[in-house]
Symmetry: C2
Subunit: 201 residues, 2 copies
């Protein structure tokens, strides 16, 4: 059970990291479209064919961190006290990721820049976020106290709104040159949604 990861596992992680590093460098040098998977493979010292046993698509390399982020959110969500309202639980969980983002700002910005300048990467990013929405929605529906048949819709609305808040905050954070710390912006958005959107003049 609790055995150390073997040589095989370690090599796999190393390789994955090597591919990622090689790819990001090349994307910055020659652009996303200007880089072929062969070039990435060459720089990472692997066979061209091997690239695709580590990443399903070229786009996925840019978004390699999304899976762990989601894990982190779900983990945090599970840690929240049972009495807490779904919205507060979501806020707290996403704030954790927000401060991760703040800490890894420069590394993140590399990926953002590639993402925002390339439609296919951007599209893939949205698809992954939709996956987040599905997951959060089903986790939240366990915390929701509604017996009606529309509980599913409500759960999804909560998850979708939370991610909308997060994305709006991130967008402002990035376009305003990080004037305010991300967690503060995220809090502002969550507060607005908690209070309701009717009062926006």
């Amino acid at each position: 059970m609790g055995t150390e990861p073997g040589l095989r596992e370690r090599k796999k992680l190393q390789r994955r990291a090597a591919i990622e590093a090689a790819a990001l460098d090349l994307f910055e040098e020659h652009g996303f479209d200007g880089t072929t998977t062969e070039q990435i493979a060459a720089r990472a010292d692997i066979a061209p064919r091997t690239f695709f046993s580590y990443f399903a698509t070229k786009e996925d390399v840019v978004l390699a961190d999304y899976a762990q982020r989601l894990d982190r959110i779900v983990e945090e969500l599970a840690r929240r006290p049972a009495g807490e309202s779904p919205w507060d639980a979501l806020r707290a969980s996403l704030l954790v990721v927000a401060s991760d983002y703040e800490d890894e700002r420069s590394a993140l910005m590399r990926r953002f820049r590639i993402m925002t300048t390339n439609p296919s990467v951007f599209a893939r990013s949205l698809a992954l976020q939709a996956g987040w929405e599905d997951t959060l929605s089903s986790v939240i529906s366990g915390r929701i106290d509604t017996d009606g048949e529309q509980g599913g819709m409500l759960a999804r609305l909560l998850a979708a709104s939370a991610l909308a808040a997060m994305r709006s905050a991130i967008r402002h954070w990035v376009t305003s040159g990080h004037r305010d710390p991300l967690p503060k912006l995220v809090t502002t958005c969550f507060d607005q949604l908690a209070r309701g959107l009717a009062d926006v003049p």
Copy 2:
């Protein structure tokens, strides 16, 4: 200025429609991945190369209606009285599209079915919706009465939340077998967000 569309324009529309019809049929017969652009071209009686002067990608054929939907929303948004709150204006505008959806239910479901079973179509759909968000956000920021530098973030939050409401409602509409009419579900979601998410138990 107000001249009739010439032969050229009419033929273009006809062809576009022919390609769309051919493609949707084929997608249903052999699946999206199981259909090539050549097959579509063959059935639409055009050269393979010509397909790509009508649609940028194979995915776009499934989502051909998105552009007009957005036009419709923006148009409706412009028609809303100046005194109305941004949120109510968004609600009214999206409700128009919601009843369009309700009316075109069966035609829509064809597209939905293809969209939800194919990751790349789904991803493209999200990208187009992100475009909606951009547009709505900038239109709404004109209606927002906030001088602060965070007005942009607020505008985006409104647009993103409105679309989140719409998507949540649509999802429920589809997965629950259209038990309730879409406009009613959309209203429910908008009401919840107007009132605030803090009160969800």
